[in-house]
Amino acid sequence: MATHDEIEIEVLRYHPETDSEPSYRTYRVPFAHETSVLQGLQYIKDRLDGSLTFRWSCRMAICGSCGMMINGVPNLTCSAFLREYHPGKLRIEPLAHLPIERDLAVDQTDFLEKLASIQPYIIPAESKAVDEGPFTQTPAQRERFYQYSECINCLLCYAACPQYGLDSGFLGPAALALLHRYNSDSRDVGKADRMPIVNAQEGVWACTLVGYCSEVCPKGVDPASAVNRNKVISTLDYFFRFMAPRGASE
């Protein structure tokens, strides 16, 4: 790469087997116009300190594994560029609110369990053999859920959410957005199964509509809107549950 300048990158380091607590180490990294923050970290790992640990895969904002805090803001390091921070410096930390596994890699277990709990797949009314053809849908029906299906599970929204930071029992933005994605799909009949999760205090009701989740999402998903639509749905469910026809929830 044609390098022009150098930039200082301060990185949070923590190896739980040797370090009693996290500390910061600063590296000087040469960069060109097109050098991403992720490439800056790779430069450090390849040339300066091979023990630096971080996750990445696609380098094109698709896999969702390179999310970190850049100067306190949750971001995908592969789609942020070092030039944006020059002549200042960068401080890179693991995603906020999540336990550190090692250096910049966080433990995703909590989210993965929550994701599994919402049954993130279409539950059809009756299963169909492949040769019976696909389940069809109109463009308007697809429009109702499409943006929510764009989620790449990068967890930037969990690092942004102050309520998740205060109490990680909260199901959180992405899991609720994905729950809404399946509940609002015309091919799915799993809503009755998923509503108890929505209706709980740890479901939509831990949210106070801060809205930062939707601001940081790199894929244009609007988790805050999914949560608030479900506050309305949950409220209707609360007041009208006794009026539903007998056996409707079975």
Partner: protein
């Protein structure tokens, strides 16, 4: 199965109060805080006699009850959640009782005063 939250009750009151706070309160502030003291549209428009007759009429009492009680539920719900955000967690149930208790007491007091005025 996760326990169903009772939050929809408070959230519905909060939402209804939000509508009042957004649409009715600004108009009331203009009328009672600016126009009336300036003698608009006519001097004495908010005289004691006129206002107490308004409060003693059924539509007037209903209007005042809705505006006062829903604004209280709206405001205290917001305060309760903001305290949580500011880090008041311990004793949050005490805060909860204080917040919603005040809204409830304000609602009851408003209802009592209006009913005895009619």
């Amino acid at each position: 199965m996760p326990k169903r939250s009772n939050e929809p009750v408070f959230w519905a009151l909060f939402g209804a109060g939000g509508v009042v706070a957004a649409f009715v309160l600004p108009a009331l502030i203009v009328v009672t805080g600016l126009a009336a003291p300036l003698g608009l549209p006519s001097p004495g428009v908010l005289s004691y006699e006129r206002v107490s007759a308004f409060a003693a009429s059924l539509p007037g009492a209903a209007f005042l009850f809705v505006v006062i009680s829903l604004s209280l539920w709206h405001g205290f719900h917001r305060i309760y959640h903001s305290l949580h955000e500011l880090g008041v967690h311990r004793g949050l149930s005490v805060v909860r009782v204080l917040c919603y208790g005040t809204a409830l007491a304000g609602t009851a007091l408003t209802a009592y005063l209006l009913v005895t005025a009619i």
